[in-house]
């Protein structure tokens, strides 16, 4: 029997597969298609203190083997997420990781304090890497000093472990990883989207109303993999890896590079059943490679 379980701070996962924040809403839509209890965890959509209506449309554009999005953290706000989305998710036997976003430190602290007290929130994912909002978001994730201070402020109020979501839009991601580790992060999730743009071929006008958007999908997998590999060399913190994962082979790559678990994002839009399909395929894949557990395989590329 292959052992898929993964134990990380706050998270006793039955398997290492979870949908990534922003690609899965609060789970209701995908619950029409399959039992969410199959999932290792769910990273719910970013929650901010107040209701956010997000950016003007068009908000998405397809690119070669990828897509750009600039949703702008649209969400119903802390109060509604606490009152209806999280209680609804209690029916499922899976861990919930709440993505926390804001425009200033006080916002992050407010949301983190409240949402970490929800009975079914097992960990926070601190979103310091959203490229699509004018204030906050990525500005917290590109300056190591600010990232360290914010992590510490959130750690001080959170009643569950805090994972910090890193941005790839930096010169040295290891520096940011070290900074959030110093700030007391319990883990790292990486990577958020890469800032990009697409132009209308006739008019030259940006296709996305926000002008720029975050690139995701298979196109970014090599970048994400390289960054997980680099960060793993410099920290022992748990890493939840993501960026262009579409199948079980991609999962093996991220685990090999040093991720302890993985998140699947854009692929949910292409194949809504991708997460349960990967979970079903994982035992045989591990066995074929000569491993009897996920934890045995993690980081194998560093042991060669």
């Amino acid at each position: 029997m292959t052992n898929l379980t993964v134990n990380l701070p706050g998270l006793n996962l039955k398997n290492p597969i979870m949908p990534a924040s922003g690609c899965f809403g609060f789970g209701k839509e995908y619950a029409q298609l399959y039992d969410l209890s199959q999932l290792g965890a769910i990273m719910i959509k970013a929650t901010t203190a107040e209701t956010r209506l997000g950016n003007p449309t068009p908000r998405v554009a397809e690119t070669s083997s990828g897509m750009l999005n600039a949703i702008g953290l649209q969400n119903p706000g802390l109060e509604k997420v606490m009152a209806s989305e999280l209680p609804w998710l209690e029916q499922y036997d899976t861990s919930i990781i709440a993505n926390v976003a804001g425009s200033q430190t006080e916002d992050y602290v407010e949301v983190a304090r409240a949402i970490s007290s929800a009975p079914n929130v097992h960990a926070l994912e601190l979103n310091i890497s959203c490229p699509n909002v004018k204030q906050g978001g990525i500005t917290f994730g590109t300056d190591p000093n600010i990232a360290r201070a914010l992590t510490r402020a959130v750690k001080d109020v959170s009643s569950v472990p805090v994972y910090v979501k890193l941005s790839p839009n930096v010169t040295d991601i290891v520096q940011l990883a070290k900074a959030v580790e110093e700030g007391g992060a319990d883990g790292i999730t990486m990577i958020n989207t890469l800032l990009g743009m697409r132009l209308d071929e006739k008019t030259g006008r940006p296709v996305i109303a926000n002008i720029t958007g975050g690139l995701s999908g298979p196109a970014i997998k090599p970048v994400a993999l390289r960054m997980v590999y680099e960060v793993r060399k410099h920290t022992d913190l748990p890493i939840i890896g993501m960026g262009g994962i579409t199948d079980v082979t991609d999962v093996i790559d991220f685990l090999s590079a040093g991720a302890n678990a993985v998140a699947v994002g854009t692929a949910n839009f292409v194949n809504p059943f991708v997460c349960p399909e990967i979970i079903a395929a994982l035992p045989e894949k591990l066995h074929d490679l000569g491993y009897e557990s996920v934890e045995e395989l993690v980081g194998r590329s560093h042991r060669l």
Partner: protein
């Protein structure tokens, strides 16, 4: 229920300039509830192109478990779809969204379509006629070469065609025809470019109407928040075109 199914191509033919009619067979046809719903098609097994394509449902044949899509081949995705031959399989996710309220019309309805917005009106016309509602069809196209299903709509009721270049029917837009027609109907249904939907809405402020909107989509099921529009209800109210729509009563959606 939403399903993902490998459906089999029964027929594929070009019926106008860049316009293809594709008939596929499979179980998910049995779950189609109302005209105006759509399906989300994966055109390649690879990730290039990446995203699914939302395509409207033009006709439902429950007895044969088949349905018809009519689409314009214009980009990478739809040109790959146009290459699918009889016997090939296509990855279909659906049926998705909420369609037209067939029960809303009482005696006479106007069905107003533009370009690739015309197809879902065909199934709607069939269902309205089956209920004894008289349908008048006002359809706009770019030019004579782009016109499709004229005879099929004529078989169901009075049909008027407008072309932008005047090469067939009335020259101009559907609104030019609407201006000449009596207002002796109780309900209108419309699908087409946003500007057309706005014009139709303005033409009949006193009538009950239903409009099918188009918006760039990601997931197609309501999870990604790509296709969001504001509404007239309040500053903070919004709808998702894919899962709350694509059909909404007139006067609700702000575009």
């Amino acid at each position: 229920m939403i399903r993902q199914e490998k459906m089999v191509v029964v027929s594929q033919q070009q019926i106008a300039r860049n316009i293809f009619e594709l008939i596929v067979k499979g179980d998910l046809v049995q779950d189609m509830q109302e005209p105006g719903q759509f399906v989300h098609i994966r055109v390649a097994d690879s990730f290039e192109p990446l995203l699914r394509r939302p395509i409207s449902i033009a006709e439902i044949n429950r007895e044969e478990s088949q349905f018809t899509m009519i689409y314009r081949s214009e980009g990478r995705g739809t040109s790959l779809l146009a290459e699918k031959a009889v016997g090939a399989t296509i990855d279909v996710l659906g049926p998705l969204g909420h369609g037209f309220d067939v029960d809303a019309a009482k005696a006479k309805a106007y069905l107003i379509g533009g370009g690739i917005g015309v197809p879902p009106l065909y199934q709607l016309a069939k269902e309205l006629n089956a209920k004894g509602v008289e349908t008048v069809h006002i359809l706009g196209f770019e030019s004579k070469e782009a016109v499709f299903y004229e005879e099929k709509f004529k078989a169901l009721g009075e049909t008027h065609i407008a072309t932008v270049d005047g090469s067939h029917g009335t020259q101009g837009f559907v609104t030019h025809i609407l201006n000449e027609l009596p207002k002796d109907f109780d309900t209108y249904y419309s699908c087409g470019p946003t500007a057309m939907l706005e014009a139709v809405q303005w033409a009949y402020p006193e009538k009950q109407g239903f409009l099918s909107y188009e918006q760039r989509m990601g997931c197609g099921i309501g999870a990604c928040f790509a296709c969001v529009c504001r509404t007239t209800k309040s500053e903070t109210d919004y709808i998702k075109v894919c899962s709350d729509g694509p059909v909404f009563p007139a006067g609700v959606v702000i575009v």
